[in-house]
Amino acid sequence: MPEAPQPSRKRGNTCDQPDGKHRLHWVARFVDGWRVYRKNTIGRIGIMLLGLFALMALASFIPPWVDPMYHPMTGVDPHISHSTGPSLRHWLGTDFIGRDIFSQLLAGARIAFMVGISSALISIFLGTTIGMVAGYAGRTTDVVLMRLADMIMVMPTLLVVLILAALFGQLNIWVIVLMIALFRWPGVARVIRSQTLSLRHRPFVEAARVAGASHLRILFRHILPHVMPLALLYMTFRVTSAIIIEAALAFLGFGDPGTVSWGMMLQWVWKTGHMFQAPYWLLPPGICISLITMAFYMTGRAMDDVLDPRLRSEETKA
């Protein structure tokens, strides 16, 4: 990575420097942030839990490989055709048609991550772009966009997706992901917008404008890097709400019938009338949903502690 011959400027913002220095600064910030994060107890617990679930997600590929009867959706134990308790063959027992619950749980972790992260990424992308545009353009665009955001925020996401499910039939998991993202971007957008508003009149933006940079370039080259940490922070909260909404949808019977999510497992336990007799089936999915929510929340909170004072110090430096 060639480094331009610039005077070493430790202070001041990174955006006016050429790409080489810019990326280096980012990495340095990340490493610093990680050091601070590590000391935070809540963050440590959060990361550990997330690691545990990530392991589960990865491990979900193992059981069907070991024996097709362990496949979460289609694997049926030839000797068992009803719900049984934990045993050596089936660590958490079987569901009402003899499928292994433990492998379902592992598969659920995979689905949770997939749904959570992709939905969060989409809504962060949407929210950041809209927030930046609103904050930067100001005037009518801002008002219109924020009104739109307000309207979407008022609506209960779950019920809206329900209605869409009614109209468009059984939903595919990716459609669900997209729809959740479409209703979760306003929260991010608002925060990004106020951050952009405060950045808009900073000297470095004025300088870029004077230098002839187009609006698009200003937005994505100069404002975005400042706004990114905030966006990433809010991503953790988007993940939790996406996971919960998908779980609720699956619970009500509107999930993707081809995917095994924890919500789906709860739906089966409920609808097949096993909730009273099968605690080994009822408890694990719910515990997992709660734990993963807590894990992402803790991680987000710890990130908040790391990022906030740095954001503030960034403000005073620039």
């Binding site: 008022v154 209605i163 009614a166 109209l167 509107f254 709860l266 009273f276 709660s290 929340y297």
Partner: protein, 325 residues
């Protein structure tokens, strides 16, 4: 002065938003794959009834006229006949609405009060064990998955210890009995309401507690707390009479902001406990492709959410004298 204008302005906003929602719904219902007519008219109806219905809803007219019919129908409450119940949709929903209002309002109010009460104590005894306990407890309850908690509640309280009924809002035998007075009937409803109410409260009070706690911590830095202490008041009076009323205001805002989340929870609770409200009706109608009912239920829920937002805003304006005067 300010209050009346404020309410009027918000009402106008609500009407506009509802209008947008109505229109979007209209468009969606027409855009979705399948025959839009079959969505509104039950295919199993007799041809005469079907034709009458189509005329009243303008389904044989061009799109723009249909829209006008639609507006008129929503305004007059003529939203079609439910496929499943065979009754006018509006009648069914009006029947269900009070049940939802009862459960939902009680749950929100009680959760808020509980959150304010506990948050006040947590902030006052900051950093002590009771504070840590309450904060962790609040965070834990926040992350509980509502349907799962509902199932656990039923399993434990209704099935295992048998204190409460498993589902429903009323016990038919009580209500059919001619000698049962209003008190008995009310108690019966309360008996059935206990579990859904508890589920909603447990999942909601946590966030209110945390908001109250941080709001109190901010309030305690204000100068009028020093004034109160200088006046010779005892600590409890300062906490409850001076700090808490100020700190509780952001909680009201927080209730408003989380209304969407609360309505989600309300619908889930109604479904699991078979509480006959509009949330459950929505879920039910969607799973049974009862389009007229689904559409109407959704519109009604939208109105409820918007009105709830308005109520919260007005409440805030009323409670904060800086806005009222």
């Amino acid at each position: 002065m300010g209050l009346r204008r404020f309410v009027l302005r918000r009402l106008v906003e609500i009407v506009v938003i509802f209008f947008v929602i109505m229109t979007v719904l209209f468009v969606l219902f027409r855009l979705a794959p399948g025959d839009p007519v079959a969505r509104m008219v039950d295919p199993s109806m007799t041809p005469e009834d079907a034709r009458l219905l189509m005329e009243s809803m303008g389904l044989d007219q061009p799109l723009w006229t249909q829209y006008l019919y639609y507006l008129k129908n929503v305004a007059t409450g003529n939203l079609g006949i439910s496929f499943h119940y065979g009754e006018p949709v509006s009648r069914i929903l009006m029947n269900r609405l009070p049940n939802t209002i009862l459960l939902f309002t009680t749950a929100i109010v009680l959760s808020a009060l509980l959150g304010v009460f506990l948050g006040k104590i947590a902030a006052w005894r900051r950093e002590e064990r009771i504070d840590t306990l309450m904060t962790i407890g609040a965070l834990f309850c926040n992350t509980l998955f509502l349907p799962w908690l509902a199932l656990i509640m039923i399993w434990f309280f209704a099935y295992w210890v048998g204190w409460f009924p498993i589902t429903g809002m009323i016990s038919p035998q009580v209500w059919i009995d001619p000698s049962a007075g209003p008190i008995r009937k009310t108690l019966d409803v309360l008996h059935h309401m206990a579990l859904p109410l508890m589920t909603l409260i447990v999942t909601h009070f946590g966030s209110y507690l945390l908001v109250m706690r941080s709001s109190m911590l901010d309030t305690l830095k204000d100068d009028y707390i020093i004034t109160a202490r200088a006046k010779g008041l005892d600590e409890k009076t300062i906490r409850d009479h001076h700090a808490a009323p100020n700190a509780a205001l952001p909680v009201v805002t927080s209730v408003g902001l989380s209304l969407a989340f609360s309505i989600n929870g309300g619908a889930l609770t109604e479904t699991v406990f078979s509480w006959p409200g509009i949330g459950r009706e929505l879920v039910f109608s969607v799973s049974h492709s009862d389009y007229p009912l689904a559409q109407a239920a959704f519109l009604l829920i939208a109105i409820v959410v918007l009105m709830a937002n308005l109520v919260v805003d007005v409440l805030y304006a009323y409670l904060d004298p800086r806005i009222r005067y």
